[in-house]
Amino acid sequence: MSTLAKQKAKWGYIFVAPAVIVIFAVAIYPLLSTFYLSFTHKDLLDPTSDGFAGLSNYKKLFSDILFWESLKNTLIFVVFSVIFELIFGLGLALLMNSAIKGRGIIRAVALIPWAIPTVVSATMWLWLYNDQWGFINILLTKIGIIDHYVAWLSDPNLSLFAVIFSDVWKTTPFMALLILAGLQMVDQSIYESASVDGASKLRQFFSITLPMIKPTILVALLFRTLDSFRVFDLVYVMTSGGPGHSTEVLSLYAYKTLFKELNIGYGSALAVAIFILISIISVIYVKVLSSREEI
């Protein structure tokens, strides 16, 4: 290495130092602390409670019905919201791609749900779902789908799906924009030669479009899966986990344990569980993505 290159390398370290310090101080050190705290009895209400707990928080977690309930709710939330976002997002992206005029306008409109603060969109949906004056009840009774107003968010059988629907509303356009970007990279001449060969539109979609945009779809799915797994704001504002625990998701349950019950030890064990589950999901996606690249 020349002296100039060495000199430059030194500057490289200086330039990344602020970013690295922030990452260590605000992300890595706290993460390690959460692991540590999950092995303690730390309780903010009881200052003498700092003792080592061994694995007892984790033992508690395995027998905690509320943990399993919130894990189940989280998985339902993730699976349904991501599947619907993918289907609607793909449809919307194909529509945008085939619109010759006005593509700019619809792309701009698609950014609105994405840009709206989650707290605002949750509030907005509270208003739409309102059991006395909500537009959804007004609309559905007018067109005869329901014959009386429904309390969407206070019915334990409906509330989780009502929340999922509002998440789908907010994030489908983002999915569509990602897929549209993938669609626009597909070389149009492939379609022309496929048409000459007599391939139908449907056939073209399944044998050309879908394989070509598969990597983009996988990345979009990864983003959305991780994001929906840590859902917090939307549920906090719309239902706070209720009625009962029917919409309690993992992040919310961990948050309540940490900051309402002030049970830092057990709350940290819940947080670690979330971290591990998210890591597993990421590893699976990355495996799928990289195995695809090797082919």
Binding site: G12, Y29, P117, V119, T123, P215
Partner: protein, 277 residues
Amino acid sequence: MRLPLKNRLLIYLYILLAVIFMVFPFYWIANASFHPESELFNTKNIQWFPDFTYLNNYIDIIQKKNFLQYLINSFFIATGTTIIAISVSSLAAYALARIRFGASKYILGIVLGMSMFPPIAIISPLYLMVQKVDLLNTFIALLFPYIAFTLPFSLWNLTTFFKGLPKELEESADVDGATPFQTFYKIFLPLVSPGIFTTAILVFIFAWNEFLFAVTFISNDSLKTMPVAIVGLPSEYNVPWGQISAAATISTIPLVILVLIFQKRIISGLTSGAVKG
């Protein structure tokens, strides 16, 4: 490739439905903000259009609920986050993209791993740290997590921009005897300004919208940010829908304007990572 007229009309019909679906929920709460509650609660006579002469809900949230203060707080923290996050990440992104040094590949790997971090996994130790140094109820307590959570995204984005510049730039800078900082500041930074601008908008929107840290670290009413203030509007006995809808609208309109003006940049900023894989 021209589709038959019937198909084209069908496509535009679907697009119209999609646009209505995307816009209507926000339209409906914005519409509500321009009506007295007595009209909102009368489902026999639905008000489909806003009455822009009725501003009492806005006057109420500004005069009685001090809502401008929360918007100013949010603006302040979002601007501060953007300036610092962009400074820190553009410096680091420049080094990662243009300078060869041993640790660079590990750093990008760690940063990419960080983008999957659930905030809940670090919030309680951060709370204890902030409490220990007596920074609860200060904007600084929010600044650091906001920088950390926007760092993966902005570092990743900006690194791509810096990598896209030609190699001759350094060579001419070396000939001129510029220091690495001068090379970064005087030559590279102006060239990536479009990328910086796009990234800055996205960082700003993140900080403007953030809720979890804001609700946890700030309990002092005069320091609350907009999302926390909106959540705090309903009391145990009364849900003031008129005021809530006005607060929701006034907090979102600036973002909608920002997004509509800069839609091309924002979309390219959001999608570049996903498409390139």
